[in-house]
Subunit: 163 residues, 2 copies
Amino acid sequence: MNASPALFVKMGVDAWHAQNSRVEKLLNELPESRLEAETAPGRNTGKYLLGHLVAVSDRMLETLGWGPRLHPELDEPFLLNPDRSGIAMPSVAELKQHWKEVNDKLNAHIARAQPEEWFSRHLSVSEDDFAKEPHRNKLNLLINRAVHTGMHLGQMNYLTEKK
Amino acid sequence: MNASPALFVKMGVDAWHAQNSRVEKLLNELPESRLEAETAPGRNTGKYLLGHLVAVSDRMLETLGWGPRLHPELDEPFLLNPDRSGIAMPSVAELKQHWKEVNDKLNAHIARAQPEEWFSRHLSVSEDDFAKEPHRNKLNLLINRAVHTGMHLGQMNYLTEKK
C-alpha cells in the first residue's frame, strides 16, 4: 500500500489546483461584462462570486500561517455582506488581478510546503481542539476549500453561453 | 505529525459525507414539484441533477469494486444524454428512493473499508497506470466525487426560496 503522507498531499493539492484551473479557464473565456450578470435570476452575480472566492483564498494565507493576507478590504463587500449590499466593490478587472495575485502567492506556498506542515493544525483551530481532532490540519482545509470553489464554479458556469 | 493512513481516510470520507448530507437536507426541504424546475433559465432541472448524482454514485459502486450497481438504467437519461432529451426518466419520488438506496449501499461499504483498501486502485484506472500514478486510488476518487457533488449542489441550491 502506498499511503505515504506525500501521496496524500498530492491528492489534496491536485483537487485544489483542479478547481482553481477551472475557474481560471472560465475567467479567461468570459467577457468581463458577463461577470457583472446574475448567475441566475435574483442570485449572486459572477462578480460577487469572484470577489468571494478571492476573499476566501486571501484569508487562507493567514489561516495556513502564510500571512499577511493581501486584500482584507474584500471581506466587507464579499464575505460579510451579500451581493447588492451597496458597499463599494472593486471592478471586475481589479478583482481578476487580485485573483491572480492572491492565488500566485498561495500556490507558491503550496508548492514549497512539506508533508509535515500539511499535517499540522491550521490557525482557525485551537491547539486543544486539534489535539482532539487531528484531522483538522492544513491539508483538510485545502480540500474543503477545493469543494467550496467547486460549488461556486458550478454557479459561475451558468454565465457561459447555453449549448 | 499525525499523518496516519486512517487520518487521511477520515479527511476524504468526511468531505464526501459533508456534501451528501447537504444534498440530503436540500431534498428533505424542497417540495418535490420544485425539483422539476430549472435551476436557472435554460439550465438543468433539479430532477436531472438529482438523477445525475444518483447515476454517478451508482457507478461508484462498481468503480470502487463494491458492485454490482443498482440502477444502470439511469445512465441513459442522466449521464449519456442532456436534460430534456426526451428519454424517459423516473419520477422525482423514485429518484429520491434511488438516491437513498444507492447511498445507503455506498455508505455501508465506506464504513467498512480499511485504509489499505482506500489506497488501492479504483477500477477505472489500469494496473499499469496505477503503478505510475499511485495517487489514483479509491480515496482520491471519493474526494473528486465529493467536489463533483458540491458543484451540482451549488446549482441545486438555486431551487430554494430567495432570502
